[in-house]
Symmetry: C2
Subunit: 276 residues, 2 copies
């Protein structure tokens, strides 16, 4: 483990490099995927879940998935940064003009390391959500995977600048709750955790998967299904999560205020233990 | 006008270059726009319509639009290629990790020139469409503009390899006809041209705008509205168009065959006159 590398160091296909060809289809069409991993003491605790999602994305987009190579390169990057963020962008590679997938495309791997984001420490005691007007479109073919077509998230995140809002709540075209701009959402409704179904839109977050697996192990009931704004307002505990932030309890959305409940604290501590 | 430059020559921000920084948000999120123009004898006949669409896209994405600079650079590229294709990719530029639009981002301009695509000459006498299963998602915020989030088109175009199909027909989530994977569609239903409304999905093609303007001038009735698959089957003339191919009459879709009508030939000749 070493902290001597400058941030943000980047590698392209395993070589130190900070540029890539303008013919890359990641640029042309967002034709690729990404993963953002938290490195802790040179390790990547949720690597398996990230690789599973990446594999699903590669299957959907029909991009060859060189698991072992990617695992090695992510491991080296984590080792180089120690504690920080490792981001992988995997594109279909370069191609001629036109949407058709080139038969001979060589996927491009871009790996970058960053310091951990410096979020205010009090966010673990509760955050306020901004209610975004941007709605996600229904696209079952692309739902769940972490592809590079992220203009909806860019537009949603651009709706507020006030740092009082730590995250934005995003709904689908029917006005149902889906997720945060960069996180997944859980709400405890009538004594049971609910997290929105992501089969039509949204990103299936790695921390969401991790927490659902812990709930399963503990025999805790939960629902992956529709979550209306009404149901969210009726919830007695709400939190958002991702693999960098862990769990942020939600304490305000518009006029609705929440206390941080013990169930949320428990899940938060499970999320934090990942990186100890 | 000169033909001495190699294809594909590329410029990044006005300088000959074939790479761009891996931190570009065009790569990270598809956070940008593109235009594909046909150059004819060093000129760009539909430049104004392309710039209008680009301006709309920049307004939607809040990317600064340096019209004069872009116009100059496109003009130089057209002059260099003579007859060919000039592609502009305009991204928000480089940024830190995260969806928030950087306040100080400097947009990236990538211009590339290509030879004209070598489509079989008989396509102007009629093409067969493949009926794609991939459906476009409803996203009114992004509909019409030519942004870089093009995975739906990539997936739709990947559905067929048989060159007997020149283009694919794409519908929305409700099964209404929207467009081709790379072109717009017109159908003559009950004696009147109909082209799908693009306010919820689809790309507002420059050749579509050009032909609609010609119809207006000629006092020809047309409808921009819903086009069901049933109505398409009832049409007596169908064509697809874009600024590179001009007008391709559609002569087959599944079991339905069409003749090439005189109205289609007229519009085709108007499209071809653009580049004379």
């Amino acid at each position: 483990m070493s902290h001597s590398i400058p941030v943000a160091t980047t590698w392209v296909n395993g070589q130190l490099a900070d540029h890539l060809p303008v013919t890359d289809r990641g640029l042309a069409y967002g034709d690729g995927l990404f993963e953002t991993l938290r490195a802790s003491q040179g390790r990547l605790p949720l690597l398996e879940l990230h690789l599973k999602r990446l594999q699903r994305g590669c299957d959907v987009l029909r991009i060859p998935f060189r698991r072992q190579l990617i695992e090695e390169e992510l491991g080296s990057a984590a080792n180089a940064i120690g504690d920080g963020v490792v981001k992988l962008t995997l594109t279909r590679g370069s191609g001629q003009r036109g949407y058709a997938m080139p038969a001979d495309a060589q996927p491009t791997r871009v790996i970058a390391v960053f310091p951990l984001p410096e979020y205010p420490a009090d966010r673990r005691d509760g955050v306020q959500l901004y209610c975004c007007a941007t709605r996600l479109s229904d696209q079952p073919l692309l739902a769940g995977i972490k592809h590079l077509n992220r203009l909806e998230q860019v537009l949603a995140r651009s709706e507020w600048q006030d740092p009082a809002f730590a995250e934005g709540l995003v709904c689908d075209q029917q006005g149902r709750v889906v997720e945060g701009t960069m996180s997944n959402l859980f709400a405890r409704v009538a004594g049971e955790w609910v997290t929105p179904d992501l089969s039509r839109c949204g990103v299936q977050g790695v921390m969401r998967d991790y927490l659902l697996a812990r709930m399963l192990e503990r025999g805790q009931r939960f629902t992956v299904g529709a979550l209306t704004l009404d149901a969210l307002h009726q919830a007695d505990q709400v939190f958002c999560c991702n693999s960098l932030i862990g769990v942020w309890p939600v304490i305000r959305l518009g006029d609705r205020a929440w206390q941080v409940g013990s169930e949320t604290r428990l899940l938060q501590s499970l999320a934090e233990q990942v990186y100890l």
